[in-house]
Structures are given as C-alpha cells and as structure tokens.
C-alpha cells in the first residue's frame, strides 16, 4: 500500500504542478489546493495512464465524495492492480 501511495503522490505532484505535495492515507481532496471536479478528472486520467487501470463512472464519482480519502483511493487501486494480474 505504501508503494501505491508513493506512486499516487508522484502523480498528484505532476497533475497539480506542486512538488511540495505530501500525502498520507488520511489526506482528502479538500486538503489539496485546487482539487475540484475538473482536476479530479485530470488526476483520474493520469492515474489510469500511470497504473494501467480503468475506473468506472461510479468509482470516479465515489473517489471525490465526502468521507473519501487517499487510503480508499489506494485500496481501490490495489484491487484493480490485483485483478489485472
């Protein structure tokens, strides 16, 4: 999970153009400056490309909903990566 979070942090830094972004599993979208609906889609596009996975419409929506954090994002990514193998 740590490895996924690290890779996710790298993608976040690239998408938001901010090398100082540091995240934990508890980080939420509200805590990252500029993470609006549009940037969320840009992030999803970048994550899909980097990790070689695809997200469903309902998953994209759920990842931005209230109460979600990067820990849940990593868990979903982990499940998708496991399903790929």
């Amino acid at each position: 999970m740590d490895e996924i979070l690290e890779r996710l942090q790298a993608v976040l830094r690239e998408v938001f153009g901010d090398d100082e972004i540091v995240v934990t599993e508890a980080t939420t979208a509200d805590q990252i400056d500029g993470w609006d609906s549009l940037m969320h889609v840009n992030l999803i596009i970048a994550v899909e490309k980097r990790f070689g996975v695809k997200f469903a419409a309902a998953e994209i929506a759920a990842l931005k909903s209230e109460g979600e954090n990067l820990g849940n994002f990593c868990q979903l990514l982990s499940r998708k990566l496991a399903a790929k193998r």
Partner: protein, 413 residues
C-alpha cells in the same frame, strides 16, 4: 397526484404510521410496492401511457439483464439512442417536431416523471455495464424507477443506495427528536410550496398579465408600470422556483426518513452562489452530480485522452455542452434551448474567468481574491441576477417572453 396535496400527505402519514409495525422486510417491501402502484394508478392518465411507461421501464430492465450477462458497449449505445429518440417523441420536443411525421407526434401519451426515469435508467445501465451493479432484481429495479417519493421530480437517487434500503427497510430516525425533524421537514416543505411559492406565483402572474394586457392595447405601458412589473417578474420567478422545488424536496426527503429511505439532498442555498459553477453545486444538486458523472466526466475524459494538448480548450466546450443539455432536458419547448444556452455560456464563462485569474495570480492569489468581502458580495449579486435572467426563459412561450422584454425595454428606455 401532487406530493404537496392534503390527500397525499394524509395517505402517506397513514402508511408511515404503520410501516415499521409490519413484520419483516418482505411485508415492508410489499407495502411500498403497493403504494407505488396506487400512486401510479392516480397519476397515469390513459392505457396508452401505461403501455409506454411499461415498455420504457421494462426494456431498461431487460437490457440491464443482458448487460449483466455480457457487457456490450454496442448494445448499451444502441439502446441509449433508442431510449433518447423515444423520450423526444413522447415529450414532443419542438426542435424535432418539424422533421417528424405528424402520425408519430399525434399521440396522447403522458408518462409521469419520464425525464427522471430517463436519467435513472442511463445511470443504472452505465453502472451495470461497468460492473458497478453486480446484481439486481425486477422488484428492486421497478420500485427504484417508480418509487412514488422520487417519481415526479426526483431527487435523482442512485440505484445502489436504493437497493441497500430495499433489501431491508429499517428505521432511519433513531429517536423522537429525529422523528420530529422528519415531520418538521414535511411541514416546512408544505409551507414553502403552499404558501411562499403560491404567493410568488400569484404576484408573478399578476405582473405578467399586466404587461400582456398593456401589450394588447388595453392601456398604455408606462415606464413606471413596465419597470415595476418587470422587477416583479424578474425576482419572483426565481423565488417561486426555489420555494416550489425545494419545498417539494423537503416533503419527499422528510417522508423518506419516516419510511427509512435516505433520499439525497437537492438544494444548498443556491442564491448565495458565487458563480455559475458554484450555482450548479447548490441548485438541483442530484441533477448536477448526474451531469458531472454521466455527461461531463466521460465527455471531457474521452477528449482529453485523445487530444491531451487540447484538453484545456476542450474543458470549456464540455462545460457548455453539459449545461446546455441540462437546460434542454428541462422541457420540450424552444425556451429551454435559450435557458440551456444561457447556463452553458454562464458555466463556461466562469471557467474561462477562473483560468485567467489563476494564470495571472497563481492559486494562492486566486484564493485570496475569492476571500475578499467585496468580491464575495459582487459575485453573489451578479450570479443571482444572471440566474434570474436565465429564468425569464423558463416559461414555455418563448415568443411571448421576447415580446414582453421588448415592450418593457421600449417603455423604460
């Protein structure tokens, strides 16, 4: 049947009083299903409409079953095209009536809540196709689509939320206070619809009739009369829409709590919005989220993946198209095209302005700019007026609206 009528509220309270006294999930589901059938019986006007409703909803279930067995984008898109074409014909959209044969349009089908059924059906099938709904039953699907609390005007609930409830309807209100809050919500909603919205529409109609009488030559349209009536029309219609729709939502959300169903919120002080994008996160929120998830995101994602360098330009187009279609969805007449165009322009202009400010000031500077008290007030007032301007085109007779605006302009300037 209106959910704000005394008959509905009394009948619903009788159902709610006995609902959790019924033993087990099966009997509660049966009671809800019976309530849905009775509500439909009172709302569907003729046999043709029953058949159209049945075909529309059951075909969605059938296609859902096929997609569950074998996911196929071709089947989904083919059915989507057929569903939208049927929707346009049933609703008799003005934009297609000149090109369609008269025989096709000569029907008396009135499918209650069809606009909302369409949105729920698209969401349901996309989620089945993308393996987000692992299984469903005919009972849960039909009662989701035809739920008497959300059939007529939403809020647009997601199938997964309803399905969890349907499996085992349990009380949401945990104590007396919670129960009282649910009753209070129904009462506030009833007040909003029956008193505040009724007052707004009464004076709005009076002002509109006044201008129309003057336009027909009954008396001269003086500057003062034109200005007073226009101001009444301009401000009271948005107030009417808010009281009427948010009041309806209060009633169904409160009623939902009494039978254990959590219905999503639909309003969050929309007239305090700071721009048009903010407005759509506060007004008719379940529609906005649906548009975001099933229209804007797939559209922008597909364009940005195909042409990454043009993604920043594509975003304005996607905002425009998404909100334009949302506007057009509101009704079949040409005025909704204007309404949609204004909202499409409003949200894309907001995004252009935001992009410009971020480029010029940086994200931190943009945040500081937004926090300025003067900026806040100006933004709220400007947004509220743009919304009111768009609402001028929410009433069906577009030519009459344009004539009224012209007449008022001539009298005032």
């Amino acid at each position: 049947m209106s959910v704000c009528s005394a008959e509905f509220i009394v009948a619903f309270l009788v159902l709610a009083a006995g609902f959790f006294r019924l033993p087990g999930a099966g009997s509660r589901r049966a009671a809800l299903a019976l309530a849905n059938v009775v509500f439909l019986y009172l709302s569907v006007p003729n046999r043709g409409s029953w058949i159209a409703l049945g075909i529309f909803v059951l075909s969605g279930y059938g296609v859902g079953r096929l997609l569950l067995r074998r996911p196929s984008s071709a089947l989904f898109f083919g059915y989507l095209a057929a569903m939208i074409a049927t929707f346009i014909v049933i609703k008799k959209y003005d934009v297609v009536t000149p090109i369609l044969p008269v025989a096709v349009l000569h029907h008396s089908l009135v499918v209650v809540g069809l606009s909302y059924i369409l949105f729920r059906q698209i969401h349901f099938l996309v989620d089945v196709l993308q393996a987000q709904i692992p299984d469903f039953t005919l009972g849960s699907y039909l009662n989701y689509q035809l739920n008497f609390l959300t059939l007529l005007s939403g809020p647009i609930q997601r199938y997964q939320e309803f399905h969890t409830y349907w499996l085992d309807p349990r009380p949401l209100a945990t104590d007396r206070h919670d129960l009282l809050l649910a009753f209070q919500r129904i009462m506030v909603g009833t007040l909003k619809v029956s008193v505040f919205a009724a007052i707004c529409i009464y004076y709005w109609e009076g002002a509109k009739n006044g201008i129309n009488h003057a336009m027909s030559g009954e008396f001269a349209l003086t500057r003062r009369f034109a200005l007073r009536n226009f101001v009444t029309i301009f401000y009271l219609y948005p107030a009417y829409v808010y009281f009427n729709f948010s009041g309806y939502c209060d009633i169904v959300i409160g009623a939902g709590r009494l039978v254990g169903l959590k219905i999503p919120e639909n309003f969050d002080r929309p007239y305090l919005s700071r721009n048009m994008i903010d407005f759509w996160t506060r007004q008719h929120m379940t529609l906005s989220l649906w548009i975001r998830d099933y229209l804007f995101t797939p559209m922008y994602k597909s364009l940005a993946e195909r042409w990454p360098r043009k993604a920043s330009a594509a975003v304005f187009l996607c905002y425009f198209v998404a909100l334009f279609l949302a506007g057009v969805w509101h009704g079949a007449t040409m005025n909704f095209v204007v309404f949609g165009l204004l909202h499409g322009l409003g949200v894309s202009a907001t995004k252009i302005w935001e992009t410009y400010l971020i480029r010029r000031r940086g994200r931190a500077g943009y945040r500081k700019y937004l926090q300025g008290p003067r900026t806040r007030v100006v933004a709220i007032v400007a947004t509220m007026h743009f919304v009111a301007l768009a609402f001028l085109f929410f009433t069906p007779d577009l030519n009459n609206t344009i004539d009224e605006i012209r007449a008022v302009m001539r009298a005032v300037f």
